[in-house]
């Protein structure tokens, strides 16, 4: 029996066990939308801007651990996805984005709503395709999903000309994807594992520096086991938060530009740095030559290009984090030398040193009786959700306060645009997360600037009855930029005051959502409690201390030991 390309695409989605897609229609994908209406296996979520479809698919992927899917039309629909795709690329999130395209006969003619989206997204996708021949359609889609989810995950774009979607053909049998040119390495080299474990055995001051790779490879338990067995303190990147329990005594919280004093001091003084699924980003390292200057460095990463890119690594391990950590845990379980030591891997002296740093400069803020401090709001959110909510963030100070004060204990519970830093990520991400986990509490910790970048998605949340909670830390500023201007530009606040802003409470109501406002510290808890008890989209407008800063802070280009403290 012959079916159309559009029908085949839906069949492929079923084959990939896709349950939800996020999209927005248009002329080039109208055949596909016709088929979507004709079936009930896949839920289509109609967003209000294509960028939101991609962020939602991104968060959906992060929560479920599977591939997120977005579908948009050609031309402007396609270009609107670019920010979302670039963000997923930087954060290694597996998504497949389908874009409509003008009919093959018109490609290259500057046709109506034609854009070379494959050309545009080449540098920000893991791979992309233009399907010109119906016989390539199914193998391409299978390959796209395979590439997105395997190895170092990432976004894949598939461009679908309108005529290909309408062509009839025989759907090919399911087939295992085998690629000549793409074979990621999952298994670590045993010799490198041996070297790494020996180095750990000898280390007096080891530190684990865990990144998003730990979460992507579902290696949190293995990492936790290694850290506890060998008694190694752990610090996490923004993307790694939740990869190790944030309330564990061995956790030092986040490192880097807005990391804790003790995490940065520990890295600066360690003799062994064990990087797991992290990539030595400049926001983590600060001045590179002052980063872990005394340490031997072990680096586990599935992507060979990450290794020795920014910082010279002594023991590289190209592997899936989970496989490598499992191998290391097995090594320690078997090591007679390790198990004969009475104190096991005990690093009591080192941990005491770190604790002294912690006591000297704990993560904190100055509380005030009549003005709401943003950190207090995040702490309250943590307390009242028992640390169990899925948190998404926008970008700026709100993002850093969320990272610092919501002590994530579980993986796949924190969604933020880490690498690209996209204002406007958090709310659509919350929608994607809520679609993936209908029973969880999902909160977007937002800034008053960022939330306006995808605020139209209130309609989406309302349409699908998604009880997302938005907590706006409203400082009336593009706060993070204002903070830089305060510190490095003589307080000249160029273009950062948000002099005109909507009444967020009234705006929520206009969409049929619930709007709540807190202007005093005493109102914070009641507002959060009411929001959590409401089965509807809720916008909480927290009017916070206008010029509160995020601290500690390592000024860009400085060593991570040169922190500005509270």
């Amino acid at each position: 029996m012959k079916i159309t390309g559009a029908q085949a695409l839906l069949k492929c989605l079923e084959e990939q066990k896709v349950e939800t897609i996020f999209g927005f229609p248009g002329g080039a994908v109208i055949d596909l939308y016709d088929e979507i209406l004709a079936q009930d296996k896949i839920t289509h979520v109609l967003v209000r801007h294509e960028q939101a479809a991609v962020h939602a698919a991104d968060a959906y992927a992060r929560v479920t651990g599977d591939v997120g899917v977005a579908l948009v039309t050609s031309g402007p629909g396609a270009t609107n996805t670019v920010t979302g795709i670039a963000s997923a690329y930087m954060d290694s999130i597996p998504i497949v984005v389908f874009t409509g395209q003008v009919p093959t006969g018109l490609i290259g003619n500057d046709a109506f709503q034609e854009v070379d989206i494959v050309g545009i997204t080449r540098p920000c996708t893991k791979h992309n395709y233009l399907v010109k021949n119906i016989n390539d359609l199914v193998p391409t889609i299978r390959e796209a999903f395979y590439i997105a989810r395997s190895g170092r995950p990432g976004p894949v774009l598939v461009d679908l000309p309108k005529d290909v979607m309408a062509t009839r053909f025989v759907f090919p049998e399911p087939q295992q994807v085998k690629m000549r040119t793409y074979r990621p390495t999952y298994e670590p080299h045993p010799g490198q594992i041996e070297k790494a474990c020996q180095a750990i055995l000898k280390a007096k001051k080891p530190v684990i520096y865990a990144g998003g790779g730990v979460i992507l490879s579902n290696a949190s338990d293995d990492l936790t086991q290694l850290a506890r067995t060998a008694d190694i303190p752990v610090t996490m990147t923004l993307m790694g938060l939740g990869g190790f329990p944030g309330t564990d005594p061995l956790s030092m919280g986040m490192l880097g530009m807005h990391g804790t004093y003790y995490a940065n001091m520990a890295v600066a003084n360690c003799d062994l740095l064990i990087a797991v699924g992290s990539r030595f980003d400049d926001r983590v390292t600060g001045r590179v030559d002052a980063f872990a200057p005394h340490a031997k460095i072990i680096h586990i990463d599935i992507d060979p290009t990450s290794i020795s890119k920014n910082v010279k690594v002594h023991i590289p391990i190209v592997a899936d984090c989970k496989h490598a950590l499992t191998a290391m845990n097995t090594w320690f379980a078997r090591s007679e030398e390790f198990n004969a030591k009475t104190e096991k891997g005990n690093h009591a002296a080192w941990l005491r040193e770190i604790n002294d740093w912690r006591v000297a400069h704990p993560l904190g803020y100055v509380d005030t009786p009549d003005v709401i401090k943003p950190q207090f709001v995040v702490q309250k959110l943590h307390e009242l959700t028992h640390g169990d909510a899925i948190i998404t963030t926008e970008v700026g100070q709100n993002q850093m306060w969320a990272a610092q004060f919501y002590h994530f204990n579980h993986p796949r519970a924190f969604m933020t645009s880490g690498g690209l830093g996209v204002m406007g990520y958090g709310f659509p991400a919350a929608i994607g997360a809520q679609m993936a986990a209908p029973d969880r509490t999902v909160i977007d910790i937002a800034g008053d600037g960022s939330i306006q970048m995808n605020i139209q998605e209130m309609a989406t949340a309302m349409q699908y009855k998604l009880p997302v909670k938005i907590a706006i830390l409203n400082n009336g500023y593009l706060g993070m930029v204002r903070q830089w201007q305060e510190l490095f530009y003589d307080k000249k606040y160029s273009a950062t005051p948000l002099d005109v802003a909507p009444d967020f409470v009234a705006l929520a109501r206009a969409y049929g959502a619930v709007g709540l406002r807190a202007t005093k510290p005493s109102e914070v808890e009641p507002v959060i409690k009411e929001a959590l008890a409401t089965k509807n989209l809720v916008v909480m407008d927290f009017v916070i201390a206008r010029e509160e800063g995020v601290y500690p802070m390592v000024p860009a280009g400085k060593a991570t030991t040169e922190m500005l403290l509270v």
């Binding site: 080449r122 540098p123 690629m179 793409y182």
Partner: protein, 161 residues
Amino acid sequence: MKHTISVLLQNKPGVLSRVTGLFSGRGFNIESLSVAPTLETDVSCLTLVTVGDNNIVEQITKQLHKLIDIIKVTDISEFEFVEREMALIRVKAEPSTRAEILRICDIFRGKVVDVSAKSYALEVTGTCDKVQAMIDILRPIGIQEIVRTGTIAMTRANKKY
């Protein structure tokens, strides 16, 4: 240091653009680049010459390898290899310089491939340095046009990587 990198890639639309985009996007430099099909019709060989320290070249080879359509990347400057480049050079030829041009062409084992009343077009093949040397010597006589192929290279037999 100069490195000659040999890349086997799938002969598909857009692959070359992935390679050049990688170089421009990451600020790597390309001295020369040449591509043509291999024995297998769906596989092309791309030879590129780049300059950079070891760290940069290591990144270049890893990043190239990461591209999905690329089959194999070899920094062949790590091995013994032969390299060739061809150039077509049109030189102004006047009665007083014709003999001189032919002599130079001979010394470099070049060939005259086109003759007109006022010019010679010469073909020369050799290492990049040799081609450059011939160009430098012809320059004072008056070069009108140059077309170069870029380097292609191959490792020597028995020194297989």
